[in-house]
Symmetry: C2
Subunit: 266 residues, 2 copies
DNA sequence: AGCCATAATTGATAAATGTCAATTTTATAC
DNA sequence: GTATAAAATTGACATTTATCAATTATGGCT
């Protein structure tokens, strides 16, 4: 598996992390939608023809708002977004982060409305896949239907993993698992799993993990003291993955293995 | 909406709660799969023909084990089950409860293996829907494909709601939201949302909510002191739903409204 | 380049929940 | 029906994490 380290000029610049590293369609989840092994050329063209490229979002711009009506699924091409829901007390609750190659909007099919909002964390471009067209095409192409069901299933599976995390674990276990998860997702897209940039704020991380910002900050400090990571602001280097796994309370099955699994479409 | 209160002879007997109240196929999620509005008679027959009825499970029997290969989706006809995953430290982590009319196994499509085990909480019968057949049939029947995608999307949505709960809330908020959730699900199946039996132990509830058993027990006590519920063992009566909503940090949209939404297939 | 708003860190304290231990209640088996 | 095991409850105490407050660092803007 190829490993690209992000170019060094990204280190001290502001936004360029994920944004600069554009992901070719062939490497993203959409490619998984295209069914790498079994789809043929003309089918792939058909799929390609329904996809719309949208103009890039600037930081803090919304891809969609809470309650907006559902038309399309989106795939992140470059950059990153967060999804969040409003809570009763007027706060927002971050429900997910979306890196290049990942999907947004699957949770909106059921009710026809987006239950959460999606906001760009940096300059971000996405592909738009109109859902009616995708459904129609899935009707023609059994492999595409299958792949769509697989991706939705994976989403359910991933959410459940996160539930485990939020339900049971200590603050350090949560943060450790979070960092490992991000690391793994970078790896799956062909980037380095050892060194990467977090596009989200400590606040977003804390919110997502159900912790106070201060606690997250302290954990970052402790992880550095313990030699688990090096962290300078958003720039993270994983120094001791094995210990982090133990702290996260993960068995190995949740790392390399599942990473491979989700690559090779059987 | 009709409201059936469970027969009084269930009160002081052991198992008969959910188990006794068999749900007709027309009232369960499978009926949603059948697409109430738009599917015609012969299509419905086709769907009916691929469904297998299995012989009932006794309490503590498994429907499937962790890692077992995925063939079918299951629909609960009567009784109830819990799903759970093993954790590193040899414990189990409860990931969900499944009441009559609800689905199991959607999280297994992705990898072809069940990431969790499913165990009957009481005498329980399920319908088995072989996934290959379902996929094939969905290929023929666009409305069925659409419905399948909707149901999976709903699962994603529901999981995210739970994540919100586990991530942010206090112990009392979690338990309150849990009880309201169960109440709502009963209501959706046509049972009373005010009075019902919990088939799962306090231990399972605590595990599911990421709390210690003792904390759950104390919360039950407190809720009774505060007049929110009456609880005698597993028999629960909701006395003050409005206060419980506030404690759970829910806006109304998460109750009646969404209940209706998921009934009417548009 | 410098200013201002925002984000991140750190410390002190309070509140919530987990842990340990004992007791009571309920369920199961003989 | 009784014995035994399992589940639930309750209390005392320890630990973790949230909250409040203050300080420092960073990033965006003119």
């Amino acid at each position: 598996m190829q490993q690209k380290t992000l170019p060094s000029n990204m280190r001290n610049k502001k936004v360029v992390d994920l944004h600069a590293a554009k992901v070719a369609c062939k490497e993203c989840s959409l490619h998984q939608l295209c069914l790498p092994r079994s789809i043929n050329g003309s089918d792939l063209e058909k799929l390609d023809s329904i996809i719309e490229r949208k103009k890039p979002l600037k930081r803090n711009e919304h891809l969609f708002q809470v309650g907006s009506s559902f038309h399309s699924i989106y795939v992140v091409r470059s950059g990153s977004l967060k999804t969040y829901s409003p809570t009763v007390d007027g706060q927002e609750q971050v429900t997910g982060f979306h890196l290049p190659g990942e999907l947004l909007g699957l949770d909106a099919i059921g009710k026809g409305r987006h239950p959460c909002a999606a906001k760009a964390l940096e300059t971000t471009s996405v592909c738009e896949v109109p859902f009616e067209h995708l459904e129609g095409l899935s009707q023609e192409l059994p492999t595409l239907q299958h792949q769509l069901l697989r991706l939705m299933s994976k989403e359910i599976f991933d959410d459940q993993e996160l539930m485990l995390l939020l339900g049971k674990k200590t603050a350090e276990a949560r943060l450790s698992a979070f960092l490992l998860s991000i690391s793994l997702r970078f790896k799956q897209r062909g980037f380095s799993s050892v060194e990467f940039y977090l596009s989200m704020s400590r606040n977003d991380i804390a919110n997502y993990l159900g912790l106070a910002v201060e606690t997250v900050s302290r954990m970052f400090t402790r992880f550095q003291e313990d030699g688990l990571i090096e962290a300078e602001r958003k720039h993270i280097i994983i120094k001791n993955r094995e210990n982090m796994r133990q702290i996260a309370g993960m068995n190995e099955c949740c790392d390399e293995t599942s990473a491979k699994d989700s690559q090779q479409i059987s």
